[in-house]
């Protein structure tokens, strides 16, 4: 009967995964950053990272100048930023 180590970090498969992640961490991080969409601020040209779970109509803020944009996606799934409407006197609940 083959006996396996009880602790998961002692298993060979786990060690192989860790080794793969260590060797390829740059590539993995690059893929991760490519998955996140980026847009440019129309005011100050800073890069704005769009959160992965962002949805149409959500407000994103430029990290540098603080301008607020409304997020939309075109047919190809590419993100577009439009300067958000300012608070109107009839806004609220």
């Amino acid at each position: 009967m083959v006996s396996y180590p009880t602790k998961f970090w002692k298993r060979k498969s786990f060690k192989l995964i860790v080794l793969y992640a260590f060797k390829n961490h740059k590539k993995i991080l690059q893929v991760e950053s490519q998955n996140r969409m980026k847009c440019r601020c129309s005011e100050c040209d800073s890069e704005i990272t769009i959160p992965k779970d962002a949805v149409e109509g959500e407000i994103v803020t430029c990290p540098d100048c603080g301008l607020e944009f409304e997020l939309s996606f075109d047919k190809d799934g590419k993100c577009n930023l439009k300067i958000a409407e300012i608070v109107g006197e009839d806004w609220g609940e």
């Binding site: 149409e56 109509g57 407000i59 939309s72 006197e89 009839d90 609220g92 609940e93």
Partner: protein, 296 residues
């Protein structure tokens, strides 16, 4: 059904959410509808173009439309068109119209004998000063349309009243020439918000004003804690909700020395604070409420 528990798949039902800004609440509603496997059509109000001679049916707008526009007038007018086409909108045009205007809300509450703060309306600064002199200071002046505590001002003395009324005249908005004046209710530094859906009070929370401020709007930094739903509060909340036409509503009340008084009923409710304070999945409860409407 327990809060947050998913229902049987109901793919045949279609829900539309009309929005113009995706707040935390809209994201929660979309997630809740998806969890319950409701086909959800998201309609950005800013892209809508209605042909008033055309017909819009459930095929395009779903079996029920949830109106979530942050702009009161935009939402109200869209609801008018959709209801004219025979579509079911939550909240209805009548409810939205009344709740969006503090004067109309006060009239509806008074008619239904719901306790409210002493309230006066005048249409000139002179008449406003006369009534303020009569009821005494401090008092509160509010815009009839508006939210998040915007331009809600305490009037501590006649000089402040004169200054505020002058500012209102100069601001140019016709709505600000309607002076909605209320007694300053002697209350603890908090109010009570009750979320009502149909004939049920789902949650109640205290909204406590931040230090050194008096307004209790979450948008202004108020903190929220769970409030027990007493029989008295439940009765008042349901009465107020019925008075404005019913639906998914947030009834705001203050603890006056003579018992709770209702000062506002909100129609496009924000519930992030209430969800955090109570742990109730309010978005899921709203979707359940819509499904119940469809079953009727």
């Amino acid at each position: 059904m327990k809060t947050g528990e998913s229902e049987k798949p109901s793919l045949a039902k279609k829900l539309s959410i009309v929005f113009d800004r995706t707040r935390w609440e809209e994201k929660a509603l979309i997630k809740a509808a998806r969890r319950k496997r409701i086909q959800t059509n998201l309609i950005d109000a800013k892209n809508i173009c209605f042909d008033l001679n055309a017909r819009y049916d459930a095929e395009a707008y779903g079996d029920v439309v949830l109106q979530r526009c942050i702009s009161y007038f935009r939402g109200l007018h869209i609801t008018a068109v959709l209801e004219r086409n025979g579509l079911q909108v939550v909240n209805s045009f009548d409810t939205s119209l009344v709740c969006g205007n503090k004067l109309f809300t006060s009239l509806a509450l008074a008619k239904a004998k719901v306790p409210t703060p002493e309230t006066y309306v005048t249409f000139t600064p002179e008449a406003a000063l006369d009534v303020l002199d009569k009821i005494g200071y401090p008092a509160v002046i509010k815009p009839v349309i508006g939210s998040w505590g915007r331009l809600v001002s305490p009037i501590k003395d006649r000089a402040t009243a004169e200054a505020i009324l002058e500012h209102r005249e100069q601001m140019g908005s016709s709505l600000l020439q309607i002076h909605y004046i209320q007694e300053m209710v002697k209350r603890p530094p908090r109010d009570i918000r009750m979320i009502v859906m149909g004939d049920e009070v789902v949650v109640a929370i205290y909204r406590s004003a931040p230090a050194d401020t008096w307004r209790t709007n979450v948008a202004l930094g108020a903190t929220t804690t769970k409030c027990p739903i007493t029989h008295q509060l439940e009765e008042i909340a349901l009465k107020a909700a019925r008075a404005v036409g019913g639906g998914v509503l947030a009834v705001d009340s203050m603890e006056s020395p003579n018992g709770p008084v209702v000062h506002e009923v909100n129609s496009t409710i924000e519930f992030r604070g209430a969800a955090a304070a109570t742990g109730v999945d309010i978005a899921a409860r709203i979707i359940d409420h819509l499904l119940n409407i469809l079953k009727k």
